[in-house]
């Protein structure tokens, strides 16, 4: 974990008797797209909130480029969070809100303007720069949601379900964008789309009930010894979803 961009070790978060995150450890290398997969209630969002400094942990350490992350503002600005729900200002135009949030991160107006324009172009929203966010389609709003997480050029980008509700065209655009992000930044993403994770992630961690079940590249997970029985049963290479279900079970979660 010495050269890791993000190193999570023995992370614990409890809510009363319930351990939402229970000794979780993983490392994300610089320039890597790291997928955090798990069923509902597995502890993904809780983990993300602790990494972003929004939530105090009860145990373990989080190191961002070797610096401990605590619930405080200094660390947070090194992380760009794109929450699962779409968080945009409906009464501001796409450009206005990117510039505004840039200024909130302390960027000079000129820099915030340039960065906002570039992000809108990268995410296919340049022609809607002057449109109010409230008038955009769901897919456009989700892309704007991602742009807002990047306006301050964070070292680590955390994307919580970035592809939820996107049409195939938008999903491909976002996938390509996430891959392009990894050229300069490190990306931590959560998703329920196993196919999406297999396509975009360099490393995948599967967690359940706050514990790490597996952590490897998608190819290693689908071709490893642990899933040979799946391959035999199906007479084909198992998918990431097969591996996921094999590890977490088929029981419905709350």
């Amino acid at each position: 974990m010495g050269d890791a961009m993000l190193a999570v070790t023995g992370l614990v978060k409890r809510y009363g008797a319930l351990a939402a995150v229970d000794g979780l450890s993983f490392a994300v290398r610089p320039g890597e797209v790291f997928g955090l997969l798990g069923p509902n209630g597995a502890g993904k969002t809780t983990t993300i909130r602790m990494i972003c400094g929004e939530l105090r942990r009860d145990g373990g350490t989080i190191l961002l480029h070797g610096t401990a992350v605590e619930a405080g503002r200094t660390d947070r600005v090194r992380v760009g969070l794109c929450p699962q729900e779409i968080v945009v200002w409906d009464k501001l135009t796409c450009f206005e809100q990117l510039r505004f949030l840039g200024e909130m991160y302390g960027l000079p107006g000129r820099v915030a303007t340039a960065r906002g324009e570039r992000l809108l172009a990268d995410l296919g929203l340049a022609d809607r720069a002057r449109s109010l966010a409230g008038t955009l389609s769901g897919g456009m709003r989700r892309r704007l949601n991602i742009a807002l997480a990047l306006v301050h050029d964070p070292e680590l980008v955390v994307l919580d379900e970035p592809g939820a509700g996107l049409d195939p065209q938008s999903r491909v655009r976002v996938r390509e964008f996430i891959r392009s992000l990894a050229q300069h930044r490190t990306v931590l993403l959560t998703t329920h789309e196993m196919d999406e994770a297999a396509r975009v992630c360099d490393q995948v961690a599967i967690i359940d009930r706050g514990r790490l079940l597996a952590c490897a590249s998608p190819a290693e997970l689908t071709g490893g010894d642990d899933v040979r029985h799946l391959a035999r049963a199906r007479a084909a290479t198992p998918s990431l979803e097969d591996v996921f279900l094999s590890l977490t079970g088929r029981a419905l979660r709350q």
């Binding site: 972003c52 400094g53 929004e54 619930a71 405080g72 503002r73 947070r76 600005v77 992380v79 969070l81 929450p83 729900e85 968080v87 945009v88 200002w89 409906d90 009464k91 501001l92 206005e96 809100q97 505004f100 949030l101 200024e103 909130m104 991160y105 302390g106 109010l132 807002l148 301050h152």
Partner: protein, 390 residues
């Protein structure tokens, strides 16, 4: 600079929320118009039903005295300094008809002049030692303040006529001196002080909804992630709300002027008082917004403080003084814990009595202290619930 960015952003959002802004700005001016038509441009002439049963009486020279008619004329002749009548006499045929009008609140009081009124007065004029007496009946709803006023005015006019008609001057001569410019003020004028404060009290909706919108959308979480400080947010948002408050007050003043309102004191002083009051209302709005999760919830919850501010501060109608302690010679009661109470008193003094800010120092000090407290409380609740760490 971040506070400026928050200000610009909030101003844009607020400006684009046209319905909410329009209602916030237009509510008080609309009430100005309603009040104008409800109270006209003068003090109301109190409606007095009179049953004149007086049969008249022949004087020594053969002419007839109609004291009943003379009293009715005397009552109707009572004028304010503005020359407007004080009492409007409604002649009714019977006491029963008068009582029906009393029950229907068509009139404030009923006076029944007896059949032997003129005869009794003539006997007294001829023989001052006479025990002649005529019973003038006064009826009305004692819970109706207008009854007290109309009845008193009617009896005073009757008394004055009787003194003159019988040649018996009263032992006292009452000289009336109106306080400040109160003789010139109409009910419409007097209601304006409350409406100026009402214009900023309406801000409790806008303030609470502005905060609740950020909470509901999750934008507050985004802002907390940034380098924005809680103070930046408070300053930026509050500045926009104060701007809206000043606009609302100016519009209300403009509407009042258009309908004949004039202030006896400096208008800037009244505007300054409302601007300070606005900060306390913003503080309450911040509290409501911070304690609710959705805009709809904020809208519903904001009705509670709005009700308190409207009905327990003398803003819509005068309240009886409830004094628990005395501070610097001023009685202080529970209603005095609400900043608009002091604002209404101060603006009334400025607009009606023509005083300056120095003359309402107690109200100003109370207003500033309370405003500081409410705004600090609003900021603290918002910080604790949504901006901690920012």
């Amino acid at each position: 600079m971040k506070a400026l960015a928050v200000f610009r952003k909030t101003l844009r959002e607020t400006g684009r929320d046209r319905w909410v802004v329009a209602l916030t700005l237009a509510f008080a001016p609309c009430f100005v118009i309603i009040y104008f038509f409800a109270f006209s441009d003068t003090m109301p002439a109190y409606q007095l039903a009179v049953v004149n049963l007086d049969r008249g009486a022949a004087e020594a020279d053969g002419t007839r005295l109609h004291a009943g008619d003379d009293i009715v004329a005397s009552i109707a002749a009572a004028k304010r300094a503005s020359g407007r009548p004080v009492v409007e006499v409604v002649a009714v045929d019977s006491a029963e008809d008068g009582r029906r009008r009393l029950r229907d609140h068509d009139v404030a009081a009923l006076v029944v002049l007896p059949a032997d009124l003129s005869a009794s007065l003539l006997r007294l004029r001829v023989d001052p030692a006479s025990s002649a007496s005529a019973a003038v009946h006064l009826e009305g709803d004692l819970t109706n303040p207008k009854y007290i006023i109309a009845g008193t005015l009617a009896m005073a006019a009757t008394d004055a006529y009787v003194s003159e008609a019988t040649g018996r001057g009263g032992p006292l001569r009452v000289v009336e001196t109106p306080l400040g410019a109160s003789a010139e003020r109409s009910d419409f004028d007097l209601a304006m002080a409350g409406l100026f404060v009402f214009a900023v009290v309406m801000l409790v909706y806008l303030a609470s909804m502005t905060v609740a919108r950020e909470v509901e959308s999750g934008a507050m979480r985004r802002l907390r992630q940034s380098r924005m400080r809680a103070l930046d947010y408070l300053v930026g948002v509050s500045a926009v709300l104060v701007l809206v408050a000043v606009a609302a007050v100016l519009l209300t003043f403009a509407a009042a002027w258009a309908f004949g309102f004039t202030s006896q004191g400096p208008v800037w002083a009244a505007i300054a008082v409302t601007a300070v009051t606005a900060m306390s209302v913003i503080g309450i709005g911040l509290m409501v917004g911070a304690c609710t999760r959705t805009v709809a919830q904020a809208f519903v919850v904001a009705n509670f403080p709005l009700g308190l501010l409207m009905f327990l501060t003398g803003l819509m109608f005068p309240l009886p003084p409830v004094h628990l302690v005395t501070i610097a010679g001023h009685g202080v009661g529970p209603f005095d814990l609400l900043p608009p109470t002091h604002a209404v008193v101060a603006i009334n003094q400025i607009c009606t009595m023509g005083v300056g800010l120095g003359d309402v120092w107690f109200e100003l000090v109370a207003l500033v202290v309370l405003t500081g407290g409410y705004f600090a409380a609003g900021a603290a609740v918002l910080h604790r619930r949504h901006l901690r760490g920012a």
